[in-house]
Symmetry: C2
Subunit: 189 residues, 2 copies
DNA sequence: GTCTATACGCAGATAGAC
DNA sequence: GTCTATCTGCGTATAGAC
């Protein structure tokens, strides 16, 4: 296990992650990633053999990040209700990127679906991590398993919708407004 | 104005529209469209000079279709409330396509945004047609201009979110469930 | 490990015969 | 109008020198 190679690999993954988000997967070439990292295309292939390989690594990296974030919320934020608010506030915090590039999860899933990409199911897992975590929170609030699932899907729906509409109309103030509606809804159930 | 050429042009546009929706704009090549229509690539260029030209024609065609649909609703459905329900029911009616390819408007806008495509603003106009129509309906229901805009944006947000989540989890029953919630909301305001 | 050189196919786009 | 032939650039991917 070479530390230097691992560092370079991580650098490539995080750069590819960023470019896939901002430019889309299909529209981002090996050259784009290689030049952004500052290595040659040939060197790039030493680390990743195919474009699907680098995509798989990016998705895996995101899943680790999402899991870490959720674990931190579970650990540091006392109540389930506050944690759900924290989730909603997250999209408010990312508003600048959202109006420019949309939701990092939703847009990549939507794109991969149309490409019939082999990594599509892994991409969906990223969203499922959030959904399952939400279900847990609603169950902790005393709701039934069925209700909790419906609530989680509804919350997911609203946040995804907010990102799509905010991006379309380049309206970041709108994110804040809809987030408040969503937090009122969370308090009402 | 040649009728035969016009017919072929329309055939190309509707085929391209379908392929852009199912495969995405970037991922659909001239060859894809030409072979689906049943003409050679060379012939294709007689009708459209660049890929942005065919995209512009597709978007224009959609805008005409959307405008026609909204006009028909205005004409044939008596009350604004029923018309808004009709909009929500539309996504239920399209559920089979939505779980497979997402929203025809949302997915193309999201993709064009990342490609920094020159037709992006025209694509957004498609969504704006729905938004402006919704605002009219809410105003007819007696709401203020400001409230009506917020309501329209909220309705748009929910329907867009539903398509993203339904596509991600390939869950068409979910569309019906969230549509009912949405119609309850429409009745409550 | 990192590089240059290069193969190969496909995409967008053009020219010109019929 | 529709076709075939062709150009050009880019994207993925490989080989092999250093």
């Amino acid at each position: 296990m070479n530390t230097k190679a691992e560092t370079m690999r991580n650098k490539i993954v995080s750069t590819a992650d960023d470019l896939f988000y901002r430019q889309g997967f299909n529209h981002t070439s090996f050259s784009d990633i290689a030049s952004a990292v500052g290595i040659s295309r040939g060197n790039f292939y030493y680390h990743f053999k195919t474009k699907d390989d680098i995509l798989a690594a990016v998705i895996e990296n995101r899943k680790v990040g999402i899991t870490q974030t959720l674990n931190e919320w579970n650990k540091n934020t006392p109540t389930p209700k506050e944690r759900l608010h924290q989730y909603v506030d997250m999209i408010v915090g990312y508003q600048d990127n959202i109006v420019k590039y949309g939701c990092p999860l939703g847009t990549v899933c939507s794109e991969l679906n149309k490409l019939e990409n082999i990594n599509y199911n892994d991409a969906i897992d990223m969203i499922a991590l959030f959904r399952d975590w939400m279900i847990e929170q609603f169950i902790l609030l005393g709701h039934s398993a069925e209700k909790s699932k419906d609530f989680a899907m509804h919350l997911l729906t609203c946040t995804q919708g907010i990102t799509v509409v905010a991006q379309a109309f380049t309206d970041s103030a709108f994110i804040k407004r809809e987030a408040d509606i969503l937090k009122d809804w969370l308090d009402s159930i």
